[in-house]
Symmetry: C2
Subunit: 282 residues, 2 copies
């Protein structure tokens, strides 16, 4: 049975009833749950005594009020989905309870936030670490689950958590994909049928980098060019960035090793999509 | 009976044994306890079911390694003093347990840190909020006690805590003073006999501002000049700043009202002293 808490005190009362030593797996979400979230919930469920899923659309991490307002909200479906997935608690707090006072930008992300999503979306990662820190403080999990699909977010959250919540174990889960390779994302539902077809080129392009690397191309620039070439087949795809970075640090590399990752962001028909692949999986 | 914990897990086990609903009053210190700390402990004791005193000399908030190394360390005396003051727990954690991973400057103080101590001691308040946030997360108090003697620190901690730990009630205690008015401080023990005599001019000078305001002088600049004049009587006193600020915000004021505070920092014989007085007490 899944319990829905929207009140901080009610949640804390439940949390305090859990004996010391029991594990709490936490899956923070912005709702609009899909198979990608379910894979995080399954991982938490396999590893922990209790699973808590939060649903909170964090305005701090949106660049525009418009983007925030149009983010999909499907709370009834989300709670039902959690019930079928044996989630112990859905926590959907009010902003006025999470942040009862004026919000200042006190928390800054690490250097891993400097480029890519960080430069394309100013203030985004400050908003992310602010909410994740606050949710960690309130939810008090022993484990927290994030999808590697948001590669840079995982790096930034790892840094924040390792310092501010070193007792919480951060668990990283693989990206769930559609049959044609498209990474699952809440934003996919905004893709028109034509854009949805184009979107499949993104994982295909990243796979090209992995394949070329396996056949001996080690130069980052050559691999990135190959990704660009695949995406250039479709003029409706606007590339925001393609880069190859060191795992964790987000530092760009010249010569690619197996610990490195190719990351990309594109916009198709006004919908922004990100994806990444690790050379370790080659 | 006072229990000394140096291990995070042992402390957390104790903390988890305290029933939900009981109050925990927390007095964070850097040790070298004196009557000023005792007044905080007494306030916590009067208000809370349990009192936790932490002793941790936070290197992050020192400008120089030398100042950090020479900060007084008197742990045995401190624990004994806590015992006589009915402190439940003394928590003296190791840095390696508080910060098991690389320390990044993720936490920034609010704008209240921009001037005065903040500009005289770069990085000081980032170090303060980093340690206080971490101690709040580990100690999990319901109330935390700070002395108004560190006026700007109280403003900065209030801002940090109101956002990151809004459930913790911040309690502010009055400044304890020697018979001649000198505010108690761990640094006072570094004053030579001659410097100790000079130091009494600091509270006397601040009192002059209060007295003049009571007799009708409302201009900030005139009141500050009067403080300077008193301190100028002793050429061994080097003024670092004298200012009149709005309570809480630390914004400088032109015309002084009862919610404002006169703050000052001086150096006497190499020892830096700060003090403040509120016009509300006039």
């Amino acid at each position: 049975m899944t319990t829905l808490f929207t009140d901080l005190d009610s949640y804390s009362e439940w949390r305090n009833s859990i004996p010391f030593g029991k594990t709490i797996g936490f899956v923070p979400t912005m709702g609009a749950l899909h198979e990608g979230h379910l894979s995080l919930i399954r991982a938490a469920s396999a590893q922990c005594d209790f699973v808590v899923v939060s649903i909170y659309v964090n305005d701090l991490q949106f660049g525009s009020a418009n983007d925030f307002q149009h983010y999909p909200r499907t709370q009834t479906d989300d709670v039902n989905l959690c019930s079928t997935a044996n989630v112990s608690v859905v926590f959907a707090p009010l902003k006025s309870q999470l942040f009862p006072n004026e919000i200042m930008t006190l928390l800054q992300p690490s250097n891993a936030a400097d480029h890519f999503e960080g430069s394309d979306r100013p203030g985004h990662f400050a908003g992310v670490v602010t909410i994740v820190d606050r949710l960690f403080s309130v939810v008090k999990p022993t484990h927290a689950y994030f999808g590697i699909k948001d590669y840079q977010q995982v790096a930034v959250i790892n840094h924040m958590s390792s310092q501010l919540h070193p007792d919480i174990s951060i668990e990283i889960c693989a990206t769930e994909r559609e049959p044609d390779g498209l990474a699952l994302s809440s934003r996919n539902r905004f893709l028109s049928q034509r854009a949805r077809t184009s979107a499949a080129l993104l994982p295909k392009a990243l796979t090209t980098a992995i394949t070329n690397w396996k056949s001996g191309v080690m130069q980052s620039s050559a691999l990135i060019d190959a990704v660009h070439s695949v995406l250039a087949q479709d003029p409706t795809i606007k590339v925001q960035y393609i880069s190859i970075v060191q795992a964790g640090s987000m530092d760009q590399v010249q010569t690619v090793g197996s610990a490195d990752v190719v990351i990309a962001a594109v916009v198709i028909d006004g919908v922004r999509l990100i994806d990444n692949m690790s050379f370790a999986n080659a």
